[in-house]
Structures are given as C-alpha cells and as structure tokens.
Amino acid sequence: MRNEPIGKVFALMLLGVMLIVWSGCGDSDEPLVKAETPSEPEELTSDTPIPVTLTGSLKGEVEKIVGVQFNIRLLQDGTVVSSVEADADGNYRIDNIAPGVYTVQMTARGYEAVEQTVQIHADDVALLDRVALKALEIPVPHIQGRLLNQATKQPLDRARLQLLDETGNVREVLTNETGAFEFENVPAEQQLTLIIDTDGFERQELPIPPIPAGEIATVDVELVRLPRFRGLLSDHITKQPLAGFLLQLIDEAGNVHEATTRGTGLFAFEGLPAGQRFTLLINHEKYEKQELLIDPIPAGEVAITEVELVPLDRDQLPVGEGLEVGTKAPDFRLPDGDGKIHALADYAGQNKVVLVFDRGNW
C-alpha cells in the first residue's frame, strides 16, 4: 500500500466577475437583462430531439489497493469522452458509449497509468482484462479542484479541462457530477496552464505555479456564464405563441447565432459574446419582417424580451367592407383642408389612430 503524501495545498480561486444588473423598461420589445439566479436550470434547453443511437458498454477491474481511488477515462482520438471512478473493489463500468474504437486509461495518484484499446459494439458489453497498477518510484504532484457556475454556485458536470505543461504535453479530464476534477501525476516543478473551455461559459486559462513533488494543488474555479438571450415570440393580433420560427441574432462581427421557437413560443440563445450589440432578425413569409437592436448583454446575465410579429395577409373582404382586423394598415399621405400633409407613419410607435372614412359633401 502506498500512502498519499500529505503536503501543502495550493489553493487558487478565480474571482467572480461582479454582476451588473439593469432593469427593463416599459416597451415590451426592449430586452430585460437580469443576473442569473440559483433557481435557473443549469442545463441548456433545446427543442432539438436527441437522436436515438445504439450504444454499448464496457466494464473491467483494477486490482484493488486499499485507500487508492482509481480513475477510469475513455478516450477517442485523444479526447476524453467519458470518465468514472472505480468502486471500492476496483470494478468499473461505463455505459452509453457510441460504437467505435477507444482507449481506456486507468490511473491513480502515485501510480503509473495503464492504457488498453477496446472496440465497442452496439448493444454489447466489452469486458476488459483485470489490470494492476504499478506504484511510481518517485513522488509526483497532483491537481484537484471543482468547477462551479460563478452565479449559481452549481457544479458544472462533464466540463472539459486541459492541463498544459512546459514541454507542450496536454492532459485532459472531465468534471464529475459534483464538478470535481483531478489531474494525477503531473510534472513537478513546472509552470502549468489550466485551460477550461466549456460550452456557454467564458474560456479561462489559469497559470498554475510549479508544484513541489508529492504535493497536491487545489484549484477551485468559478466560471462566468456567457450572455444569454431568451424570449417569447407571439402573434401581435391573436397573442398566440409562434412555434417553429427561426430567429437569427447577428453580432457585431457578423456572426449569426440561430434559435428556433418551441411549442410555447419560447426561444433561447446561449453562449453569446459579451459586450456586443446584436441585431435580432425574424423573417417569416406570413409575418412582417422584424429587426430589433439588442444592447450588449454583460457576461453571466440573461436578457429577456417579448417579440410580437404582425401578420401580413388576411382574408380579402368584399368591396366596401373594409380590411380585416389584424391587417397592416396601409400608409397614406393626405392633405387636410389647409393643405397640410398628414401621414399615418407620423403616428407609428407613438399613438393609436382612429381613422374615420365618411361620405363627405355628397
């Protein structure tokens, strides 16, 4: 048995960004920006159906060593796709693996990693040979930590972290359901860089000072969520939600972010660039084209808006029976008795207009 070295613990904490909140205004087209709250769901929401694919599993065993926790990582093309911890007896199992060839990496603090190649087939459980890990001859440092959402303090599950050492080697791990991660057996006395680039959050590159051999650095990181923009799309006349409508959000660099409304008319843009002005574009054959300017949304915050679309064509009524309610009123420019010109457009966005047609002096 090899006891874990008890050494000085290095603790780094990425300070959170102060949230700036401004409240919304009366116009329903103007977005309301608010800070993220712990009650908000952590997972992104989407209407996109999850494709059903056949998957396989693998299971195996690492020779038990009392007091040693084994980490099992599944890699494909050098990228970690899944990771689990072996149980107290050294058994492990990973499910829901897409068919293909993988590398299974078994490792523990102070022990040499062992890798095996495995072919995963759909509806099948691949069995790996029992392996025994060999203790390292010299003590090495380790890094452990947790990854949290800065605003909600909720753990970020399955987030990818990379550790870059001075020789350019990159190690990769995933966080578990508690947001915890671990890099075992990292090079001693080297300047390291922790890179965190996970969807929907600001990318972080944190320098890790050299860690003496045999010691453990604890790096807890709070990530700031990238701006989000959410809202409700409905028909201006009927007030019914509009489902399946494509919305485009164009940032200052010209990048187009797309979202589709759900059955409830709700839409969500996630992971937007911070500090940029956007143009929201909604172009649908049955509705008037809508183009709205959206003010920059600070990182970590969500802007919320309601958008109503004006329907274009309504049923044509018989001559003299007017236009259907819900129709776009035709613009006009007409003189009054003094020759002063009045246009319907003069009142747009300001007031309701009562327009009375009369027979006049007949």
């Binding site: 201006h236 004006v310 007017g322 776009k328 007409l334 009054d336 008795g337 309701k352 027979r359 006049g360």
Partner: protein, 89 residues
Amino acid sequence: MSSDDLADTRRAVDRAKRRFGADIRFPVLSDAERLTIAAYNATDPFNAQLARPITYIIDERGVIRWKFLDIRVGDRIPSAEIINELEQL
C-alpha cells in the same frame, strides 16, 4: 377622411366649427383621388365616388385592431364607444 377635394374639406371643417362653436382638434383629410379609400377597402359599393363610412382603430404598430361598418346612412358609431374600444386595446 372623405373623397371631398381641399375646398370642400375646408368648408366642412368651417361648418363644423360654426355648428359646435369650437375648434376641431383632429385633422380632416381629403382623398380626392380615393386611393387611400380604396386601399382601406372603403369604397362605397353603390357609388365608387364615395367612401363608405367605416371607423378603424390602428395601433402603434400600424395594425388594424378594431373596425366598425356603418350599416345605414346617418348611422354613426358614438364617440363614447370608440373611446371604450381604445381603452380595451
């Protein structure tokens, strides 16, 4: 708005001022070419020179939200009803 020309429109306004003893605080428009009348499908089906009395409420987005068709000559909707509709929108 009617198909009256400018002169007839001015006379109608002056007549209303004398009758009610007050200024009219809304524009009375002339659509002598009847293009706007046609655009609003308000042409009298029995006399294409005239507009059929129709009242619309148009919202801030330029959308028709309410309308009233006068059925008989001289049958006009009371202002109070229009104001009531405005308050409900």
